[in-house]
Symmetry: C2
Subunit: 405 residues, 2 copies
């Protein structure tokens, strides 16, 4: 029996990262590939206490079908948290999602028709490309510099001279410590970009899983705080508590909420009420005020270890910026070196990374790769980077040899 | 700022049931509307113990990102459970989903193009219509009798004379204690239907959330056990443990698994590993063997209470079958009585139900309604049914008056 697949299935592909993660689960491989938060940061005792309390005090409610919107007190908490970051919304603008990835899927379901143009950064978050792809968009990459998308280049993907059906449905971007580039948009760029998209009438989908993971100073206010009507904002509990609970949220302009909610109902009825209540119990009294600084300190030390290892080991011709938060270094190898082709050699030497090509919606730059500094210890970071550098030197040597013969 | 919505958003609608549930959350309303399992059946102590154990013994794994396929031992458990029901599959055919609703969404994402024909029962499960609708199918209802879809009528929706693009992508059905009709397909009908769909080359999507909730005898083997290659099978932990954990599973023919998995990754990366491990911990040593019979006994007593109340109170001209399992009675009111129009009066008297029209993909029968017997006590069932009968008699009287004037 042959099932007839929907056309969109052609657009689905195995996640490069998940395929690499499978390889790197082999014991002994130092993986700088996955964006896995350090398990040392999971607040296990607080979650045990919260779970015990929820199942003691409100088991019937926690274990029953629940509202698609999310657990009311948790939605209220999100409102308060965002207000502290300058983003003022009401509780009925918050939808709790089954991880932030579901937020991306719902955005795609709601806003992308087959053939719709969707603007993204270059590079951009791989998981967003995967979430949007089944809805069959045409991606357009906005030219970027080290500070993010260039406002003066937005007209390339969305302008008044275009057929309206060719204008981008939205620009997807991660202003804070972007995955994979690590960059954080400056205040000036945020202001200029917001003015530009408002002028063009180009809505934004602002993804902010990493904003709390700053090392020196908090990032500037989100773009949603500057243009409430035109921005869908996504947040996550995965990086400040634990990803295995699968809790994120979408904050959207009010006119979008009814359809967003219906898309959520159609997708999984509601996010597990048990998980929502546990997380609310953990965070309700300011737990994150003490907890998140501990994560920052741990990750900052690991970032410093990686920077130091990179400076010590990487051969000339490699370039990177020091990330001021988040989880990733983005490395540019010398022109002509293909990071995908290099990977097997790196794995043979004992380490793994993610080749950069997967993070480009169009025109991949093959000489790029992503390193995560949050999952493994400083000692292993040092070893892993040393192995990467060795793989790179050996490849470069091979290339020289092959050119001579 | 106006967002441009995808065309599919027009196909999304507020869930009738969820809208009614909001009304019925008013204190004092006896709701026979929602299909909410009785909280008395939630195994709270077992879940507390399991949660404690998981967070003590494997917190790092339970709280980290995890495989999209699901927690391996839980997939293995599903394999064993299905084998006991005559359905023999391997672990790599099992995908753990965020509730069974997500299984329906993934089926739609994978198999439905805009304009694809999808065959359903009449009536059919409302949540499946909601899950499929955003993928813009054309629904065709297969004629049914009290034993389910009529094999000889399948040719109406899928036949060799049709343009191949007009043939149904699949037939969606719930053979065991269907929501809303309560019917359970006989062995003879399952055999005949399987032969018919095999001959036609019409794949099945078999939904089985209620199969364990039998009162007299277990239902016959699933259709998937008769045609492994042509059936996608969906199961759920919501009715035997608790819905608030949001755990279900999809079992599919092997050729479908890669794309199904990619659809899952795109939708929410993976189902919460914490929840999967807790449930596995609860059920791994045969817990359900003692637990499910308790649920059956409770629900059977409530079914009997509802049957008795219906026989005592309902006016002539109303028809229903006694369900032999599951959660619902399906009531046919006298011809000409609109169950939707009757609802406000029933609510005024103090009870609520779900009007039947929402369960029809095409040609709704307005004189039908669904009653759940599992959520409230026998005493409240008696009162609720009495109120429904009173609303019905008062309406009938009004109609007579209006016809006279």
């Amino acid at each position: 029996m042959t099932f007839t697949l929907a056309r969109r299935a052609e657009r689905m592909n195995p996640s490069v990262i998940r395929e690499i993660l499978k390889i790197t689960e082999r014991p002994g491989i130092i993986s700088l590939a996955g964006g896995l938060p350090s398990p040392d940061t999971f607040p296990v005792q607080a979650l045990r206490d919260a779970s015990e309390k929820v199942l003691r005090d409100q088991p019937g409610e926690a274990l029953q079908y629940a509202a698609s919107e999310g657990f009311g007190p948790l939605c209220d908490w999100v409102v308060g948290e965002l207000a502290a970051h300058g983003l003022h919304v009401t509780s009925d603008q918050v939808l709790i999602t089954t991880g932030s990835q579901q937020g991306l899927d719902l955005v795609g379901k709601l806003l992308i028709d087959s053939g719709s143009r969707v603007a993204v950064e270059s590079p951009t978050y791989l998981g967003a490309l995967q979430a949007f792809n089944p809805y069959e968009p045409e991606f357009s990459a906005v030219a970027c510099d080290a500070d993010g998308p260039l406002p003066e280049r937005l007209g390339d993907v969305h302008n008044a001279r275009q057929d309206p059906t060719q204008r981008a449905r939205f620009l997807y971007l991660t202003p804070n410590f972007q995955n994979p580039s690590g960059r954080c948009m400056s205040e000036a760029r945020r202001a200029a970009l917001t003015r530009a998209v408002q002028t063009l009438g180009l809505p934004l989908v602002e993804d902010n899983p990493y904003g709390e993971l700053w090392f020196d100073a908090p990032p500037p206010a989100p773009l949603a705080a500057r243009w409430g009507d035109g921005v869908i904002y996504l947040g996550s509990f995965s990086k400040v508590l634990a990803p295995g609970l699968r809790l994120g949220y979408v904050v959207a302009p009010k006119p979008l909420m009814p359809k967003l909610l219906q898309a959520k109902q159609a997708s999984d009825l509601h996010t597990p009420g048990y998980n929502q209540r546990i997380v609310y119990e953990v965070i309700r009294n300011g737990f994150l005020r003490d907890h998140v600084p501990q994560i920052r300190a741990l990750y900052k030390a690991r970032r410093d270890a990686m920077q130091s290892a990179l400076l010590r080991h990487m051969p000339p011709g490699c370039h990177w910026q020091l990330p001021s938060g988040g989880m990733f270094f983005w490395i540019e190898l010398p022109e002509g070196v293909d990071a995908t082709a290099l990977l097997p050699q790196a794995v043979t030497l004992g380490m793994a990374y993610v080749p950069g090509f997967a993070f480009f919606a169009t025109q991949p730059r093959l000489n790029t790769l992503r390193l995560s500094f949050v999952t493994v210890s400083q000692a292993l970071i040092e070893q892993g980077v040393e192995m990467l550098a060795r793989a790179l030197r050996e490849t470069a040597a091979d290339e020289v040899v092959s050119r001579r013969t």
